[in-house]
Amino acid sequence: MSPQSFTGRGRRRQTRRGVLIAERVARILISIGGLGTILAVSLILAFLLWVVAPLFRGADFEDGGSRVLAASSAGESTPIAAGVDEYQVIAWALGADGVVRAWRLDTGELLREERPFGDVRPTSVSLPLDDGRYAVGFEDGRVRLVHFAFLTEFLDPARDVELAKKLENLERATWNGGVVQHTPEGQYRSQSLVLEVGEAVDIGARSSLLAVDAVLGGGTTRVFAYESAGALRIAEVERKENVFTGELTESVAIHEVRWSPRSDGVAPARVLVGGAGDRLFVSWRDGVTRRYDARDVENVVPVEEVDLVDGEGTLEAAAFLIGRGTLVTGDSRGRMRAWFGTKPENARTADGETFVRTHDILEKGAAIRWISSSARGRSVVSGAADGTISVAYVTSDKELFSSRVEGASGIDAVLLTPKDDGLVAISAGRIASWKVDLLHPEATLAALFRPVWYEGYPEPEHVWQSSSGTDDFEAKLGLWPLVFGTIKATFYSMLFGVPLALLAAIYTSEFLHPRLRTPLKSTVEIMASLPSVVLGFLAAIVFAPFVQGVLPQVLATFVCVPLALLFGARLWSLLPSKKYVQWSGTQRFAAIGLTIPLGVALAWWIGPLAERVMFAGNLEKWLHGGFGSAFGGWFLLLIPAAALVFAFFSSRVIDPWWRSKQRGWTRDTAGRNELLRFVMATGFVFALAAFAAFGLDTAGFDARGGVLDTYVQRNAMIVGFVMGFAIVPIVYTLAEDALTSVPGHLRLASLGAGATPWQTAMRVVIPTAMSGLFSAVMVGLGRAVGETMIVLMATGNTPVMSWNVFDGFRTLSANIAVELPEAVKNDTHYRTLFLAALCLFAMTFVLNTVAEVVRQRFRKRAYQL
């Protein structure tokens, strides 16, 4: 209460409690909300990085230690085949003595040991067939197909008290010659090795089979075998099950291959069958390998001869990758290389295919003893004579893992488990195991961004083909075709859109009546908010078919409309001065507006004419190539170049002379002379272009095959046009803002000094607003890079890298939209798509930051004026 107040009324001098609380609360809430929002927005980048990072991490290998393999009664023997079950509990090996042994993987305890072949000794074994069987060749010249299968059973310990006792607190236990595991789901799963030995097949050989391989094709197994007597045979073993009686009948068809042994009489060391049995490789120890075309079993022909070790060392190990297309070889120099057949254009072989070395995977010191490949992907594992094992991924040439097993007498066998989740090595009576997570071997920076030699391709290429129907598919994750597509789309859309937008902005800010500016701005805003899905739909369903039907006319429009405008300008200058000034507003704009349909009409008339004269009557056919002269294409491409050259030449040489002449003319004379000059200049430009085109054509250069090629309905030109239309409003608005914010007094000063509006615009306004215009273009560029829907609908979505303007393409953004919903969460493909999103994010971020920084500086400078 203030005793000194005039009215005697008191007044609180303290702020109400509520207000203070509201203040505090508001501050806290707003700070949290604001910071939280900003953090949420930066979460995007962090999340993208988090998903992409594991792509470049190496594979995880966890050492599981090594154990001694329980010695058997029959003594030691080197394994000629080995395997592990999918749950990694049992490992088996077929020894050179014909004994099959199975051990418990984690302890080395011997589970089984038997002689399934009796006393006959196996002399050779094939690579694993698609169904997991092996063809084993014996010393008596016969072949058996053996299946090392695993039987999985689920047991009930409630019924088997002994089992329950054994498994009491353990995770696994030996039981009945197999292993029982207590799974995390609470089940008792038993695994045991089951040997299915087929009947001994007589293939007509009387001596021991030194090399054998087999492939599965339908119900028939085709066995290729070499006997020490020197004959090479193919046996087709067909197993038929009688549906009614369940009786199995086996029929064998034997074909002898006509082949000539080597002059030095050395016997081949291996027989390898590639593909589905259509390629036969006979390989000697010194690396020389003959490839035979075995498509017709009755008539096997030699096709080529390759040296798999290039003259150095001996061939020690060889295995096919999944699908039997690529052969991985290991030699005594420690080199592991990959080979496959390609079809180059200049192949000199009978079947057009050459067997080429395509990947140099490893080069280590010690000789490679054993190679085995993964059953699920394109990984290989090798074991060397000094006990080193290496795991590598063939397509990306990436070594995933390398280690040394103690007991350095060399690796006897090494393999990846069926689910690619484990690695097992047998060496000198010991077994070592690792837990494996291969992660993403297909995606290395080199595999993503550099050319890779994919199976079957004639040379390393950039390819994007991320999935297909078969299991043995090689994922081709080359990002360059997509980046190229993005750049192509951006380039053509900027080519169409930026000149249009900038010129329109200049006209709007400098020459248009201020009253018209607001409705125009609203119209352009509406254009800006048109959803791009609408534009894309119209592009693909309406424009693309239409343009294909009137292609010559459309191409002519690009020349005729600017020409009509320039001609109209010259005509307009002929107006008497009073009318010229009076009509310099709406009437001039109306005249401009009228000229455009006239230009289009001209193009519509010229188009078919030009098509008949220059493109042999059918532009599309001409583009496809093969006939007609190249003159038309060069002429079209050279017109802009000739115009530029002429403009340059005229501004240097003709203009000064012209200007000096102009001083003597009246306005009318000047107008007429300008018109004349324009007509002559046009004629000259066309003549220049025609001359150059003729010259190039005669010299033998053809524009087709490069920038002009086969016409595809949904192509880069259409996309460029429509995407240009989409970025026009953005660039226009920003450019117009930049131009109108040039301070008025600069303009007035220039006009006051006697410059025409055009001179003011060219020499005062535009240079001042240059950075604003630049930033407008950058923002438009950013939008063009990220556009998805238009590209998705109006290109063919084919990831090809071609310069052809009439070809389709696929961009990063469209690719993500199409493939991400189908990608399996967290696998390589998924993460690669996130990498593509990260690339897009980075590109637009950089562009927009540059634009923003430039814009801020421009603002500061403009205010200083």
Partner: protein, 589 residues
């Protein structure tokens, strides 16, 4: 008399450069007319393009539903077609095109083509009758035509399945009894009974969706409760055994109810199946169309102008309120409109408060400096990041991580079917809110900085706190800008399709995300459901339809709807901005 022309007095030397005193004429080149025309031309081209595009969409979109006449075309090789003309075009037929005709007709046809300089006009006739003929459209060239006519009794039938049917009514049957034998009589009888059939059909649909749906829901809930119990207590527990028994009992009851409803449905369907309109196609084949399958039918060549208008408006009504049929190429887009509206509403509810908060923080509360400028630049840039990146983030983070965690915590019994672990309305709204957030932040910041600091300072001088100033002085004056930003963001969000392809828009959603039921609570909200969206509908119709020619007109109409929606939003933004600006115009110092 000779006429001599007096030579005019020679002008001072014209070739030497003249020095004129005083008057200086600006040379024509200085006016830069050509470049000026080029710039003006660019503007004119841009305007032509916008106007042309809109005109194209409006024209195609509004003419889709207009019922045209039905033509009967007999060709020279004896085939007969009945249908509406959907498109015409001119082309140059290859010589081999005439090989389709019988030999005796070829010379006449060749002559015909030669008369028009090798060009020929062809029409695409929508002949429908897919179940009989195997095609929806047929191209007929002018040299194939023998005669054309407009039969009086050609009727256009829109059906629930198999698309359109064009033919003449032959008879109308109820059960085994034929009660109309002439086209006129059959049509009249059909008209009498059609309403009742449609009502019965609607009843069947209601029974199927709601009644049977309710039974299925109860069974599903019981199963889920059982599974929940299993996860909590374990299979071997007594509670589980008791619940299992109870569920089995319940299932028996449910099956009884199910059988009851089914018999009701069967009865209705049997009754409906009795009413059959037998129609004949142009080439004489007959087809029996159950009256209940017929959505709309009209004798196209007998309609007066007002009746055509009625059909036109009824089709528009169906378009706006009905669900789609025939793989989205017929029927309506109501689920898409509903989905778009609900998603946009949800998105704006999320975006506006957070955007305004963030802008307030940046402008009013944060200490201005390098960091805040950096944040501002970053937010500006995010406005330019491609929308597909947001979609990727939405799918990877919201669906697969946050959604999967929600599923593990709250919906474990439904696994492995994901509830929130896949795209749906909620995640789509979150994603689009994130997408439009930078736009709102930037617009609000601009609006806040446009409020002159003199007003703020005046308020502080009067003793107001910061919050009071913001709430009573700054925000009201910034409102026009905020509203503009909000509406522009909404317009942008309504039109974005790319992120929605990844997070939840589908070709055909079986149920709406908001359901209105008869029991309490009357409105149930299911944000985890997938939804349909107008923009995605356009993409899907245009590119993933089985019958893309029939879908094309529908796409135009949907495009028209979407553009209209966005234009309305923009115009509202401009109007609101104008209103609010005028309101606060006087308030400047």
């Amino acid at each position: 008399m000779t006429l001599t022309l007096e030579k005019p007095a020679p002008k001072p030397a014209a070739s030497a450069p003249r020095r004129r005193e005083g008057r200086r004429i600006t040379s024509i080149g200085a006016f830069g007319e050509p470049m000026l025309w080029l710039t003006g031309g660019a503007l004119a081209i841009a305007l032509f393009m916008i106007v042309g595009l809109l005109a194209l969409v409006v024209h195609q979109g509004t003419s889709t539903f207009w019922p045209p006449e039905v033509w009967r075309v007999d060709t020279v090789d004896g085939r007969k077609f009945l249908g509406e003309v959907a498109a015409t075009d001119t082309y140059r037929p290859e010589p081999s095109a005439l090989d389709k005709l019988p030999v005796e007709q070829r010379p006449r046809a060749a002559e015909f083509v030669a008369l028009s300089e090798g060009n020929s006009t062809r029409e695409m006739l929508r002949t429908g009758n897919f179940d009989v003929s195997g095609t929806h459209f047929t191209w007929i060239s002018d040299f194939e035509v023998l005669q054309r006519s407009m039969p009086e009794w050609s009727v256009v039938v829109e059906r629930l399945s198999w698309g359109r049917f064009y033919g003449e009514p032959r008879e109308f049957r109820i059960g085994d009894e034929v009660i109309g034998r002439t086209p006129g009589a059959a049509w009249a009888r059909f008209q009498e009974h059609h309403e009742a059939c449609l009502e019965r059909h609607a009843e069947v649909e209601h029974l199927e969706t709601h009644e049977i749906g309710a039974v299925n829901d109860e069974i599903e809930e019981a199963r889920l409760a059982l599974r929940r119990l299993e996860l909590e207590k374990g299979r071997a527990s007594p509670e589980y055994a008791a619940a299992e028994a109870a569920t089995e009992q319940q299932e028996v009851e449910m099956r009884e109810r199910f059988a009851e409803i089914e018999s009701e449905i069967r009865a209705l369907n049997e009754e409906n199946a009795r009413y059959v309109l037998v129609m004949a196609t142009a080439d004489g084949q007959t087809a029996e169309l159950p009256a209940a399958e017929i959505v709309r039918a009209y004798p196209a060549n007998q309609l007066a102008w007002s009746e055509r208008l009625a059909v036109y408006f009824s089709r528009w009504g169906e378009f706006l309120t009905d669900a789609p049929r025939e793989a989205n190429s017929e029927g309506g887009v109501f689920p898409a409109i509903f989905g778009t509206v609900v998603m946009t509403l949800l998105m704006s509810v999320l975006v506006v408060p957070f955007g305004v908060l963030a802008a307030l923080y940046l402008r009013e509360y944060a200490k201005q400096g390098l960091i805040v400028s950096g944040v501002r630049i970053a937010v500006n840039n995010l406005a330019g990041v491609p929308s597909i990146v947001f979609g990727v983030f939405g799918l990877g983070f919201f669906c697969y991580i946050v959604g999967a965690s929600i599923d593990d915590l709250l919906y474990a019994e439904k696994l492995p079917n994901p509830t929130f672990g896949r795209g749906g309305l909620m995640w789509a709204s979150f994603t689009l809110a994130l997408l439009t957030l930078p736009v709102v932040i930037v617009a609000t910041e601009e609006a806040l900085s446009a409020v002159p600091s003199s007003m703020r300072e005046g308020s502080y001088a009067c003793g107001a706190t910061k919050w009071q100033t913001i709430w009573r002085i700054v925000l009201p004056r910034a409102m026009p800008g905020v509203m503009t930003g909000m509406i522009l963001a909404i317009a942008r969000g309504a039109g974005e399709v790319a992120p929605l392809m990844l997070v939840g828009a589908v070709k055909l959603a079986p149920e709406l995300p908001v359901e209105i039921g008869s029991a309490f609570p009357f409105v149930s909200f299911h944000p985890e459901r997938s939804f349909m969206h107008l923009g995605f509908h356009i993409y899907d119709l245009g590119f993933q339809s089985q019958n893309s020619e029939a879908a094309k007109p529908m796409v135009f109409t949907t495009t028209l709807l979407l553009i209209a929606l966005i234009i309305v939003l923009n115009v509202t933004a401009i109007w609101v901005r104008g209103r609010l600006r005028r309101k606060f115009q006087a308030g400047h110092f």
